[in-house]
């Protein structure tokens, strides 16, 4: 599961939500390096025959691949931590350290699960209080989001 739940004290719960990460940062680097070797190997071989114009295209392609993998890795490192402690609901998001955080009063916070407006679209999950809301769990599949919503409701 991409949601882990910790229960430090009887009434307090922490949820850590993270996207699927089936390949490590290192794994991505190795894969990228492999593709660079192959792509430039092929283009370099033809360049040696005089057909050098494949090189810029191979470079451009590896640039797109690199950016794509990098952005994908950045997103895979994303964490959302929902901590329900005492009278407070705290939501912190970020990579290795929290980048943004906010908190609600526990008794006013509500869990809202928006069904998709259009067939096939994902649902969305919010914690809302006093006209402010924060979306959580956008990186989950629908089923996980539903069970997270249920768990949050039970915990609040």
């Amino acid at each position: 599961m991409s949601v882990t739940r910790e229960q430090p004290r009887a009434n307090d719960v922490h949820f850590v939500i993270r996207p699927n990460t089936s390949l490590s940062w290192r794994g991505n680097q190795l894969f990228f390096a492999g593709m660079v070797v192959i792509s430039f190997g092929i283009a370099g071989f033809f360049a040696a025959q005089g057909l050098w114009m494949m090189l810029p295209f191979a470079g451009l392609e590896m640039l797109i691949l690199g950016i794509g993998l990098y952005r994908c890795c950045l997103r895979c490192g994303w964490r959302e931590v929902v901590s329900i402690d005492g009278q407070e609901v705290r939501i912190a998001v970020g990579r290795s350290t929290p980048e943004r955080a906010c908190s609600f009063q526990r008794c006013w916070a509500r869990v809202i699960l928006d069904k998709a407006a259009i067939n096939g679209y994902p649902s969305r999950l919010f914690i809302r209080s006093h006209g402010l809301q924060v979306e959580i769990g956008a990186c989950l599949v629908d089923e996980e989001r539903h069970s997270l919503a249920a768990a949050l409701r039970a915990a609040l």
Partner: protein
């Protein structure tokens, strides 16, 4: 990700029609766009085929002039390859890969949107050449110089549309790779992935490996024509045969780009309707990987007649024949999956079985073509046309049709009309053979390809072929009707849909309950 607290005045989740489709980053929407695009181009490319078959109905020149005829063969191929089969597979990947690996969406949703919307522009550019001075490109989809350099005003548009098509495929492939590598659900190890995901992973890898070669090849042709270089110009010290080498270095892996995802589709469908797990899962994975590897070292079998050293001929002949081994493993596994299964023959299964049988015929004629002395006879005849149509039409196209019938209930929430589906299958299966089987005979008898006129001896077969082609074309209108009918209504599909179906996508509802935004809770 809107993880910042914000006032929710413009909680926009209700995109209007145009906005929804133009800016969507949702993998299902993009999958739908790809599939509809492929469907439309199927009829565009099909219309071109009908023009070709009308001209070839009788010997002599009746309907179109030879230049336009050659434009039709050229554009038909480009449309079918880059506009139908590749986009259809990308559409299937968009719909299915995230569901199959348990990811919420594709890894790079914004790039996904771009890679789709580049396609209509590229094809608008390519098809606009029909109205240009000097006509549309007519030198064949393989664009060999020096012939293709005689293209008129259309030439740079041809090159740039190829660039855009390549760019779109690359971005699609990168998305698929990033999704499969990074976004699998915990527990979904590589060797547990459904074969459709595996075959697409390898396809995406092939796309990334060979597309720069194509881009470089066509660009060098552009500079040869306009900027005075001589890469392929013998008068300036270049070599036109070199173009053939790099074209086929791209081209042969490309034909596997056009078939590997169908192997994945067939490997999903056959177990479902045999009510047995797939026989030899891991050998399927290894066979796919070996095919992909071998596809890099067989390219010169397309150019046996250019005058290669004997060692080269032998190497490429044997390497090509080797491909039959992993392909045979696959066919064996599908048949072994059916062996003693409790088979039922719904439309997807019918198309899958026809795929296995007819694709094998294409494989066998490929083996015949791989024999160098035989190929000296067959090269550039209708025998080659028969070969690649057997692997591409009852091969790739049938696999796509099977996939659509198989997953349409999942996508739309409705069952298609089974008896119309069966009609569509039998009409397609009969006409496809009527069209392409006699091509073997006229080819062996010496009928050349890409020629609008022919000797009287071929007349009877050629007429039969044209009748088959018109029949096949009409049968596809029935398919369009069935799809539209299923989208608009029909018996409700369960989430499981087929009682033998396995895999993550069948645990999801078909489709999630419709719930309009108007009735959703309003934010105060």
């Amino acid at each position: 990700m809107s993880a910042v607290p914000h006032d929710d005045h413009h909680h926009e989740q209700h995109p209007y029609w145009i906005k929804r489709w133009l800016f969507t980053t949702n993998h299902k929407d993009i999958g739908t766009l790809y599939l509809w695009f492929a469907m439309i181009m199927f009829f565009v490319g099909g219309a071109m085929a009908m023009i070709i078959r009308t001209e070839l109905f009788q010997p002599g020149l009746q309907f179109v002039d030879p230049q336009f005829f050659n434009s039709m063969t050229t554009l038909h191929a480009l449309v079918m390859i880059f506009g139908v089969i590749m986009p259809a597979f990308t559409g299937l990947a968009n719909w299915l890969v995230p569901m199959m690996v348990g990811a919420p969406d594709m890894a790079l949703p914004r790039m996904n949107n771009w890679s789709f919307w580049i396609l209509p522009f590229a094809f608008a550019m390519l098809l606009s050449t029909l109205f240009m001075e000097g006509g549309a490109p007519a030198g064949g989809w393989t664009m060999y110089p020096p012939l293709s350099l005689q293209t008129g005003a259309a030439f740079p548009f041809l090159i740039f549309s190829i660039h855009f098509l390549g760019l779109a495929s690359i971005m699609g492939a990168i998305n698929v790779i990033a999704t499969i590598l990074n976004m699998r659900a915990p527990g979904m190890s590589l060797m547990k992935m459904p074969l459709f995901v595996w075959t697409w992973l390898i396809t995406a890898y092939l796309i990334i490996a060979v597309m720069p070669v194509l881009a470089g090849a066509v660009t060098m042709m552009l500079t040869d024509k306009f900027f005075g270089t001589s890469f392929f110009n013998a008068a300036g010290g270049g070599d036109p045969v070199l173009f053939q080498h790099i074209f086929w270095f791209f081209g042969h892996p490309e034909v596997y780009i056009l078939i590997l995802p169908s192997f994945g589709v067939i490997s999903s469908i056959v177990p479902t309707f045999s009510r047995k797990p797939l026989f030899g899962y891991s050998s399927m994975v290894y066979a796919t990987a070996s095919i992909a590897f071998l596809s890099f070292i067989v390219w010169a079998h397309h150019m046996f007649t250019v005058g290669m050293p004997l060692g080269g001929l032998l190497f490429f002949m044997f390497a090509t024949m080797l491909i039959a081994v992993p392909t045979g493993v696959k066919v064996f596994n599908w048949v072994a999956t059916m062996w003693r299964g409790s088979l039922t023959f719904e439309t997807p299964m019918l198309f899958a079985i026809a795929f296995i049988v007819l694709f094998s015929i294409g494989g066998f004629s490929g083996l015949m073509l791989a024999i160098v002395p035989a190929d000296f006879q067959y090269q550039d005849t209708y025998f080659v046309v028969a070969h690649f149509h057997y692997v591409l039409v009852p091969g790739s196209v049938f696999a796509i049709l099977a996939a659509v019938y198989y997953w349409l209930p999942k996508w739309t929430g409705h069952m298609y009309n089974e008896s119309l589906g069966k009609w569509h299958f039998w009409l397609s299966a009969i006409f496809v053979n009527l069209t392409f089987f006699p091509m073997h005979f006229v080819g062996l008898a010496g009928m050349p390809r890409r020629i609008p006129d022919y000797a009287l001896q071929f007349a009877d077969y050629k007429m039969l072929i044209s009748v088959g082609a018109f029949g096949f074309g009409l049968a596809q209108l029935l398919f369009l009707y069935i799809v539209v009918q299923t989208i608009r209504g029909g018996e409700r599909a369960t989430s499981q849909v087929w009682d033998g179906a396995r895999g993550l996508e069948w645990t999801l509802p078909s489709p999630p309950p419709y719930h309009t935004f108007e009735t959703a809770p309003v934010v105060k």
